[in-house]
Each structure stands twice: as structure tokens, then as C-alpha cells.
Amino acid sequence: MPKLFSGAEIVFKCLEDQGVSHIFGYPGGAVLPIYDELKNHKSVKHILVRHEQGAGHAAEGYARSSGKPGVLLVTSGPGATNAVTALTDAYMDSVPLVCISGQVPTHLIGTDAFQECDTTGITRPCTKHNWLVKDINDLAEVMHKAFEVATTGRPGPVLVDIPKDIQFQKAPYKKLKKKTKLNGSGHNHYSQESIDELIKLMSKATKPIFYTGGGVINSGPKASELLRELVYATGFPITTTLQGLGSFPGDDNQFLGMLGMHGTYEANNAMYECDLMINIGARFDDRITGKIDEFSPKSKKVHIDIDPSSINKNVKVDLAIVGDVKSVITSTLKTLKKSKPSFIKSNKQKTSKWWEKIQKWRSKRSLDYIGSEETIKPQYAIERLYELTKDKDTYITTEVGQHQMWAAQHYKFNKPNRWMTSGGLGTMGYGLPAAVGVQVAHPQKLVIDIAGEASVLMTMQEMSTAVQYGLPIKIFILNNEYMGMVRQWQELLHDKNYSESYTAALPDFVQLAEAYGCVGLRAKTPEELDDKIIEMLNTDRPVIFDCLVDKQENCFPMIPSGKPHNQMILGPKDKEQNKITGKGRALV
């Protein structure tokens, strides 16, 4: 007779087998048997959050900064529905999450029992897959399968819904059969011919560009190393998406900066003018392409992606290579070295005109802004933060809005997994709990949430979590008292009708910090900014930093809506600023 384990024990045995060291969660009636079992499993540390959405974002921060799946544990009903935003966020940004939710006992399902909801029904469109476990004998297998689905192919969230009676019932434990690797090579469906075709296109191109995204980061740190090798070997310019920042050094000369709606002038113009676009692990998101009909009209397009359904979804491409980024770049480098050992030399002349053009665009200095001695410009605050932290191995999370774009523009990343931001879903309130998760994964590292005062109030309660576990996260708030990005669009598109975008009755963030039991700091002038930032960095406790910035500043450059990449508007520093009129207003 094999040894029998309760459902709750099986959950933990699976977590142990999967090497899970931290779970983020919040107890409740339908998960109490699992919480009861927690004390017997010392290798799994539970982080008690203050809201299930926080558990989800913390698990995301943990996953994105460590490359391991994030695990959250929530109760039935409101516990599960509160996690939905985070699951959707992880689905959009391809973050591996395993969400374990309690459910009412099997015999009560469908009776509108207390704290019952159709969790698998609600989360079906925002997970890669989900399971309702109705038989204790399926539990172990489902749990292992959940980790496999979350971490292989294009990563994403999964959910396992476990009714309370199943948590009590007993069954033998089935061990994990084979080890599954993150992004297993079972997802490579490309041939050597397509690699040869890629090399051919590369050697013909006179105006090439690499356009890379979060897929490079998801493929593991090795993929970022290989990408650098490929970019240096070819001498091509490279631009990355918001999620791709860090896969290539932000201060390298071949790097054109981020592309897209708030990307640099040189990156977007190069995308428009290029004759060869090599997309590696990005998905032609609408914030990148702008108007599809006029997107990069003259280029041959290559798309390297692990997800076959990403190919031709938004933009038709000439060559599709379905596979893991790491493996595709490895093959490409191998073939390149073999068939064109002198590629860089022969290629330099071919692309020299292209580089001249890029330099011209670069000389526009599209990220410049008008400085001030009286008020802190938000861009200046990010620049100073970067200068004072660049020598440390810093992890940055953000909320969503202007501050997020300024952070993406002005903070330079040199390593993958250092930048955690909500791109696809654009979830305000992501950054603070994500910082909690990052700090849990990297207790010794500096973790900063670059925040806006409106976003951060959405999940502010997680400061309590940071204090409880002694996680010295730094919340760097660019406080302009507005929902800045909303205000910017209202200014540019809705005749300055600032409908409901001003936040009256903001809390005093310094006092708020003290109320939570952490440290509050405030900077009001550019003069004191450096000292205050240094004070923040020297504090080994959680800090809320209230940085009072210019209230009117807008985020430039930008591609107005309805315009292609070559019609960006530049900031006030550029005198030839175009006004957005007519058609263009649709596109912002």
C-alpha cells in the first residue's frame, strides 16, 4: 500500500519538487487546509500580501527578475477575482505564473455557495490553461502539468482551482516525471534553410535594423549575451521594445533606444526607412507599429518568435522563424561564422550611408527637454537616479503612465531581468507589489519602483508587506498631482479639458511612509535632489520618496495616433514642432 497524502500535502510536495522557494498569498476559508499544511514545509516560504492583486504582481516581479515561475495562493471567490488583473497582466507580458486557488467543496459547486465563483470560467481567457481538480488522484499530475504549461513555449499564467474537500482527501503522490526546462527546445520549428535565408537577407541589406523584444529576456540571460554577439558581429543598429530593455546595453553606440509611441526619433525613423527588419522576440504591438498600413513600407521583414500565432498576427512578414530566441541566434551565429567569416568587414561599407542617416536623426536629440533650476523636471529626476545608481546592480520596476515612459527613455539598462514594467495590459499599481517580489528574489540588491503618485495609490497597501518582511524597496514617486499621461492626452487631443485627471486630496507621502513604519523623504528642488536620493540609497529600510516634479511636463517625443513612424512630434525644445491636427489626433 503506497503512502497516502492529503490534497494539501500533495500541493506542497509538488511545490517542493518544482523547486519553489517562495509563494505569495492571502488565506481564506477555501484554502485553509493548504495554509494549515504550510508549517510542515520549511523550504517553501510564504509572503503574506495585503491584497490578492498584490500577490499576483509580486509573483510577476519575482518571475521576471529571476527567470523562475512565480507562485501565488489565493482563496475562492473574491480571492480569485482579485487575482484576475495580475493574471491578465502576466498573460499579456508572457510571465510564467502558477496561481493556486481554493474553491468551495465539490458538492457545493454551482449552488452559489459562500465565496463561490466560477474561477476557471472567469480566468479562462486570461490564462494559458486552467484546471478545476475534482478528483484527488489527478491533483499531483495537474500541479506538475501547470508548471510545465506556465514555463514552456511562450510563458504565461496558469491556474489550478482546488475545492476544499479535495484538499482534505487522501491519495498517493505521483512524482514529477521529467524535468521541464524553461522554454524547452521542443518549440523549435525552423529549418537550416530559413537560417540560410536570413543570412542571405542580412548580407544583401543596406539599411538593416534589429527590433527586439521581451522574448529575448524570456529566453534566458544567455539569449541576451548571444544577441549582443550577433549585433556586434553584424554591425547593424538595434532598437528594443519597452519589454526588451536590458537585452542590449542601453549605452552602446549601436543601440538606438526604445522604439514606438514614445520611442526615440532615430529608432522610429530607422524602422520606417529600413530595408531589412529583423524582429527577435517582439510581437508588432500597436504601440510599436502605429498605423499598420504605413508601417515600415520598404522593408523585408523577418520574425523570430517562439509562438507560431505571433507570426502574421498584426504585420505580414517575409520570413518567419518559429523557435526559441537562444537557439535561433545560436544557429544564426554559427552559420554566419561559417559562410561569411568576413561579414562585418564587407558589411561596414554597405551600411555606412545608413549609419550616417541614423547619426543625422540622432543629432535631433529627441529625448532632450528644457531644464529648470526652480522645479524638478521629471526627466532630470530619472537621469539623476540613473547616475547615482548605475554602478550598483539595480532592479527597476514601474507603474504605468508618463513616469514609466520617462524611466524607459532615460534609465539605461545593461542587463536583462533588471526592468519590470507592465507593458501589454498597462496596469497602474503594478510596480510597488512587483518591487516586493523582486526584492524577495534578490534580497541583497537595490530595488526601485519608479512610480507616479496616482498609480502607486492603487496598491499602496503592499508597503505593509514590505515592512513585515524587511524588504528595503524604494518607491520613487514622480509626483505631479495629475494622472500625467491622461492629462497629456487631454491637453493634446481634448482641448485641455482636464476631466477628472487632477488628484485633489493626495496624502502626505512622507507621513504615509511613517504610518506604514518605513522612511519618508521629499525633494522639492533640483538643488536638493541628489542629496535626497543618496539619503534614500543609504537607507536600508523601505522608503517612499516623494519627488515633487513639474506638473505640466509632457512626455516627448511621440508618434501621434494615425501617423506612421516618420511623423513624430518632438518636444518643446525642438522649434519646428508640428501641431497635431485633423487625422493625427486619432492616433495619439
Partner: protein
Amino acid sequence: MAKSKSAYSVAGKKEKLDTHIIVVWVDNEAGVLARVVGLFSGRGYNIESLAVAEIDQKLNISRITIVTTGTPQVIDQIKLQLKKLVPVHKVADFKREDKNVIFKEMALFKIVGNSTKIEKAFKACKKHDAVILDSTKKSKVIQITALRREIDNMAKNLKKFGLISVSRTGAVAMTRGDKVFK
């Protein structure tokens, strides 16, 4: 074009829509139909008809046949998205014009009236393999198997003969000849 103040790009040109029959082999488990149908509704794809039943009790496999319309790009997306679902084994796609594929739908017609009218109705149905399933003095239930448009036309034509109720299945499909889709 009216001035748009949207944060999103404007819609591109409308392309021609084709009708396709998508056949999906899935594990017959709870919620699988909801996953497939939810994918269609969630991504704004069209479903004209749907037929589903278990076809292998031992392997627990169901076969779902969906008639849909879309641009070539959308049809491609439908297939690729379906293939990503965990319980989906394989996905086949046929154009409705495909001569190598048989498409059939079944319909039940209830005709109520005098015997002359009922007789006329049955006669009209004869070209579609009509079978009488139930018969009383005042009524008949007639089963036909035909193509979608043929059934549409029959339903219209039979009104004058006393058609009072129609029940029909979605299309099912199978390739001609000795080959099967792998």
C-alpha cells in the same frame, strides 16, 4: 474621415472574407467547448455553425466542426490560436469551395396541415434524402440532409406547405477518398 481622438490607430482597409470549415480534435473534458468557443468570441472571430460530439470513447476524443468566415490572415490566426489550447490535438481547415471535402447538415421539419400540403412538402424534400420520422393525420416530421444554403431555401419554400418548426445541426465535414487528415 471624422476627427478621431482615440489613443489607438484607425482601422485599415477591409479585406474579402472567405468561408472556411475548421475541424478541431480535442480531449473530451469539462470546459473544452467553452475554451474553443471563448477563443472565437474573445478575439472577435465569427461562428456560423458548430457541431460537436465525442467520436472516440476509448481515447476520449471529441470532434468539433466550426463554420467560420474571415480574411486569410484571420483564418490563419484561428488555426494557430486553436493549436495553442492545451486539450487540442489537431486542427484541420477546409475552404467551403473545396471539392475534395464533403459537407453535410441535417435538418428536421415539422409540417402541419391537410394531407395534400404535407404530401407536397415531402415531395419538395425528396431531392435531399428525405426521411419521414413521425407521421399523424395532421402532421409529419421530415428529416433531410443537405448543404446549408439548400436547407435555408427549403425552410423558406416549405412555409407555404405548413412548416411550423425547424431544427437543424451545424455542418459536419469529411474528406473524400481514402485519405484522412493527420
